[in-house]
């Protein structure tokens, strides 16, 4: 047998083609909408047209007269089963169906169950709800002065959800008081929506005979969802051992499929009550108007610095709009997520960050839109502020960044807010990006253009990401440790089935986790199947979001494989008739030390594990490993954006976008680049197009893709990618997680570029989304 190499195995670092694409590119994926069960019926919601109103009555009689309408469920029926309210991941309660009042436009008021999607829609139209409108709280800045929204909560005396802070307030204030230079900027990180192409939905199938329930759902975290179902509805039969959550193929999640939505609950309730499978699928409008939004962080950021450009301290004051229920998805002990990573890539003496979160009459959410728990907001405020400081000091933004980067010899680095960055080489990533961009030439070109009255800008973002929640001492969701399991079964003929507690929504797990196992076990990745998403088969895990799959489940996979290799080594020694100590793992096989031609492959050992087991050894070759990461991983990078602006119309074109990422060891470069491309497109969308907007009555103004915009190939530039590799010292293969870096790093590069193009006019900031009319307005104001 020829010597195996990483390349021949499809192991680490190989651009193996994605296994899942074989079905996706043929249109043979299996999404929720593809699931049809015999006798299946359909549910659809009656939703509130008002942002804030009392419900005086619900008349379902006309709806029930529609042929095919089987039932209309309201909060009253749910209350009879103690199911009218459910817990959120943030520890709040959320109405499954509105009882006496609605708190946001689009809130779920009644659930119509019918024999077809068509009759369900007709039924929805005929449910008559008598509303009495109340004044809505729309502006988060005024929320604390307005009447209490959450009258259901006895001890809620105002609209404050939480007040949270991190860092050292006194030390920070002291530095600010004595600082030579202070800059301050208010930024509104607008409400956006992850808008996955597949909306949320489920098929719930309760078997009245066995009492078993199968729920096929769009779930980024099937196990966590089942546990919550059992905790909330165990008393009506949804006990964990009788409930199976299956997440089939998922058409994008981006955090939107982390929360539990009323639709999942109602479809399940309806299936239990009626005894038939019930399908519920959101429309695009429903997805945009009622499911987890992201961001909505309104922040004043200040930096204190010395005159020669040494950043000394950072002060951050944020007002967070969480909507009507606090349904954000963050680790339970971290109400503002990992936002205190906001000191970013810079070494400073002190920092203090404070977040006040408020209720408003808007849809609940606060999910991570391709973002590890508020790190996107954090990266935005620091990278904008550093640019502002550069302007104030009349320094090149590159020079200022270089001067303040945490030097590589200072890693592991303890940040002023308490994070311990595992590894980094920020100068290297910056240098590489500058080289690809041809930075000096670009600045020269800019100066020439400026002299001619043309507008060109260069924007930099040198971000630090934090990925891999998380160490279980501090990181849990509703008490569930944020660890993840991996199960590996090596079959007698040397092929492998691996199962994970995370769940791919397009990230390519079936390919990349197979590559990890191939590398560890010397079995070709094409002989390895990776299964996820079925709670009946997968080991426990908290799911995929926050770029945690590779840092956490990847660690579990490596260590499970190594545990298998340990046992395999003993079996190999038995087959080679030498002692275990004389067997080494070399060139992806077991060799007798110093005798390379006396060797056994993993496939040979696997067969022996079922046919020729040494005395004292259990049969079989399989294991499960739960990984508790010792720390987060801290990916980073430098992005450079070059933008040209048409001064007459304010239209702008992103001429170039350079993205140099460092996510440690890369498992599959092609898949990693795909992740970066996707994240960059989303960052571009947030920076230039996307905003969930409301009018003064709390009406959502962009409830379809006609007004909530997704970028196309026309808007996206030809991304220029580069990478540096600084492995994580604590991750078993040094990998860090690449899924979200591009969304974390890119919006501010674009904003910085546009502001840079206009900086000579005295422009210091423009809030996202940056549009031609905003640029035009600024140019008018500056009298050009």
């Amino acid at each position: 047998m020829a010597t195996q190499t990483s390349q021949s195995l499809g192991g680490l670092g190989q651009s193996v083609k994605r296994k899942e694409d074989v079905r996706f590119i043929q249109g043979k994926g299996n999404y929720i909408e593809d699931i049809y069960l015999p006798g299946m019926i359909y549910g659809a919601f009656v939703r509130s047209p008002f942002a804030h109103a009392l419900i005086k009555g619900i008349d379902s009689s006309a709806a029930l007269e529609v042929e095919g309408v089987l039932a209309v469920v309201t909060a009253k029926e749910l209350a009879e089963h103690n199911l009218a309210w459910m817990p959120t991941f943030a520890g709040d309660t959320q109405a499954v169906l509105a009882g006496d009042r609605v708190l946001f436009q689009g809130q779920e008021v009644a659930f119509v169950v019918a024999t077809s999607q068509y009759t369900a829609a007709d039924g929805v139209e005929r449910v008559e709800v008598d509303y009495e409108e109340l004044a809505p709280v729309v502006d988060p800045h005024k929320s604390l002065e307005m009447p209490v929204i959450r009258t259901d909560k006895e001890d809620q005396k105002d609209n404050l959800i939480f007040k949270w802070d991190a860092g050292d307030r006194e030390a920070t204030d002291r530095i600010f008081n004595e600082a030579e230079v202070v800059v301050s900027q208010h930024t509104e990180y607008q409400r956006v929506h992850p808008a996955p192409l597949e909306t949320c939905g489920c098929v719930a199938n309760h078997d009245p005979v066995t009492g078993h329930t199968v729920i096929y759902m769009t779930s980024q975290a099937p196990h966590a969802h089942r546990t919550v179902f059992a905790l909330v509805a165990g008393h009506v039969g949804l006990e964990e051992h009788k409930t199976r959550v299956v997440a089939p193929d998922i058409g994008g999640g981006f955090g939107n499929k982390v929360p539990i939505y009323p639709g999942y609950v109602l479809a399940t309730v309806a299936s239990v009550l009626i005894g038939k499978p019930v399908k519920w699928i959101e429309t695009r409008t429903e997805n945009l108007q009622s499911t987890g939004f992201a961001r909505d962080y309104h922040t004043t950021t200040e930096l204190a610095a010395s005159k020669d450009g040494r950043i000394r301290a950072m002060r951050v004051r944020t007002l967070a709009d969480h909507g009507a229920f606090n349904a954000q998805a963050n680790p339970s002990k971290w109400p503002a997520g990992l936002y205190s990573i906001c000191t970013g890539s810079y070494d400073m003496e002190a920092a203090h960050v404070e977040v006040n979160a408020v209720y408003t009459n808007k849809a609940p959410g606060g999910v991570a839109y391709r973002c590890s728990f508020r790190v996107t907001e954090a990266a935005y405020v620091i990278e904008r502020a550093v640019d502002l400081l550069a302007r104030e000091l009349d320094m090149d933004p590159v020079e200022l960044r270089r001067k303040n980067f945490i030097p590589k010899e200072k890693f592991p680095y303890r940040s002023p807010t308490g994070w311990v960055y595992d590894s980094g080489d920020y100068h290297a990533a910056m240098d590489k990006a500058l080289k690809i961009a041809g930075y000096d030439e670009l600045r020269k070109e800019q100066a020439e253009k400026r002299a001619r009255g043309e507008l060109m800008g260069i924007g930099i973002s040198s971000f630090t990401e934090i990925a891999g929640a998380g160490p279980r001492k501090q990181f849990d969701i509703l008490g569930l440790s944020m660890n993840d399991g991996a199960e590996i079964r090596v079959h007698p003929t040397g092929t492998v089935t691996a199962r994970l507690g995370v769940k791919s929504q397009g990230q390519g797990h079936e390919t990349t986790f197979a590559q990890i196992i191939a590398e560890e076990l010397g079995i070709p990745s094409e002989k390895i199947i990776v299964e996820e998403g079925d709670t009946d088969t997968a080991p426990y895990g908290l799911g995929t979001y926050g770029s945690r799959s590779t840092p956490v489940a990847g660690g579990a996979t490596v260590l499970a494989a190594r545990r298998i290799r340990e046992k395999a080594r003993r079996i190999a020694a038995h087959l080679l008739e030498v002692s275990v100590e004389d067997v080494e793992w070399k060139d992806y096989q077991f060799q007798v030390k110093g005798v390379p031609d006396k060797a056994k492959t993993m496939a040979e050992v696997a067969f022996a594990a079922y046919t020729n087991v040494p005395d004292g050894e259990e049969m079989g070759l399989e294991t499960t490993f739960y990984y508790d990461p010792p720390n987060f991983t801290f990916p980073f990078g430098t992005y450079i954006c070059v933008v040209d602006i048409d001064p007459g119309t304010g239209e702008f074109k992103i001429r170039r976008f350079i993205a140099v990422d460092d996510a440690g060891t890369i498992i599959n470069p092609m898949v990693a680049e795909g992740q970066v491309h996707g994240g960059l497109a989303e960052g571009l969308a947030i920076a230039t197009m996307q905003e969930i907007r409301f009018d003064e009555q709390g009406n959502l103004l962009n409830s379809s893709f006609a007004d909530y915009l997704l970028p196309t190939a026309v808007e996206t530039p030809d991304w220029e990618l580069g990478k540096t590799v600084t492995p994580s010292p604590h991750h078993p293969i040094g990998a860090k997680g690449i899924g979200e870096s591009a969304n974390v790093g890119s919006p501010q590069a674009i904003v910085n570029a546009v502001v840079d193009a206009l900086s000579h006019l005295g422009v210091t900031h423009i809030d996202m989304p940056i549009t031609p009319w905003k640029i035009w307005q600024v140019i008018q104001e500056k009298g050009v």
């Binding site: 999607q117 068509y118 829609a121 007709d122 139209e125 429309t283 695009r284 409008t285 007459g648 119309t649 304010g650 239209e651 197009m689 907007r693 103004l701 962009n702 379809s704 006609a706 007004d707 915009l709 970028p711 196309t712 026309v714 808007e715 549009t771 031609p772 009319w773 035009w776 307005q777 008018q780």
Partner: protein, 292 residues
């Protein structure tokens, strides 16, 4: 996203379609490309009781030059304009606009006539047809009548079509030699409705003076606008900077855009002027034989 129930008819001739319209009156809607009607129905903003699908009527999908006109049949798709040699050679304004309407998939299905008949000032063809001085043929129970397109748009989503009529043909006069046109659309992303757009058409004499000018404004008011003041002002003039500036100002003065999620009214108004100037310049270059 599911429409209310409706009755569906698929007539085989225009006469049959008109007979159905006569029977069902304003309960009925004509379905051709469906790219305006179906979204409204899916959202239940429109719930017509009767749908008359004219897609099966033969002989209505032509784009041809005949008798000094470019004739566009009721079922001609946007894509057929893109591939029409007449359009490419003689109507740079139409060639411009057809590239910026939605996306290729939509253009394969959506019809030019439907783009006009919907009466939406945000659609792109109305302004273009106004600039080109087109006319429309409306066919009803009593036969056909012809209207200049400038009399076709009555109000927001309201046209001169009666409930019993079908827009059967668009006729665009073939411009004389020395003509050129251009369309400029500001949009939030490719395929979007215009934030604001302007289409201009000019004919120049051998001395570079304007002998005829047409300017149409998209999404600049509740109806598509023909900037007649600017058009009249331009005749007899050379397109120097001061003239362009004044034409832009006159076009802007005729616009009355509203603020919406695309942009504030002030921006749109200013852009009417800017885009009028830009499109006139480009139209003139093309009139002189340039391809810019």
């Amino acid at each position: 996203m599911i429409p209310s129930a409706f009755e569906y008819y698929a007539p085989g001739s225009v006469a049959e379609a008109i007979a159905l319209l006569k029977t069902h009156g304003d309960e009925a809607k004509i379905l051709s490309g469906g790219h305006s009607l179906i979204p409204l129905m899916k959202l239940r903003f429109a719930s017509p009781a009767v749908i008359i699908d004219i897609n099966g009527i033969p002989g209505l999908d032509y784009v041809k030059e005949e008798g000094g006109f470019l004739k566009i049949g009721a079922l001609a798709r946007e894509a057929s304009l893109e591939s029409s040699p007449v359009v490419q050679q003689k109507f740079p304004l139409i060639a411009d606009v057809v590239k910026v309407i939605a996306d290729p998939q939509v253009r394969n299905r959506a019809t030019v006539a439907g783009n006009l008949a919907h009466g939406d000032p945000a659609n792109d063809h109305p302004a273009v047809m106004l600039a080109l001085g087109a006319e429309v043929e409306l066919t009803g129970p009593g036969g056909s009548r012809t209207l200049p397109v400038s009399e076709f748009f009555v109000d927001l989503l309201e046209t001169a079509l009666t409930p019993e009529e079908v827009l059967t043909e668009i006729r665009v006069p073939v411009p004389p030699a020395g003509s050129g046109g251009a369309y400029y659309k500001i949009e939030r992303k490719v395929g979007d409705f215009a934030t604001i757009a302007v289409g201009s058409q000019v004919t120049l004499d051998s001395g570079g003076r304007v002998t005829a000018a047409g300017i149409g404004l998209t999404n600049a008011a509740t109806t598509p606008i023909k900037a007649t003041d600017a058009e009249a002002y331009l005749v007899g003039k050379s397109l120097d900077d001061a003239t362009l500036e004044e034409a832009g100002r006159l076009a802007m003065a005729m616009s009355d855009p509203s603020s919406d999620s695309r942009a504030p009214a002030a921006y749109k108004k200013a852009m009417v002027k800017e885009l009028t100037i830009r499109t006139l310049k480009r139209a003139a270059e093309r009139a002189r034989g340039g391809q810019a």
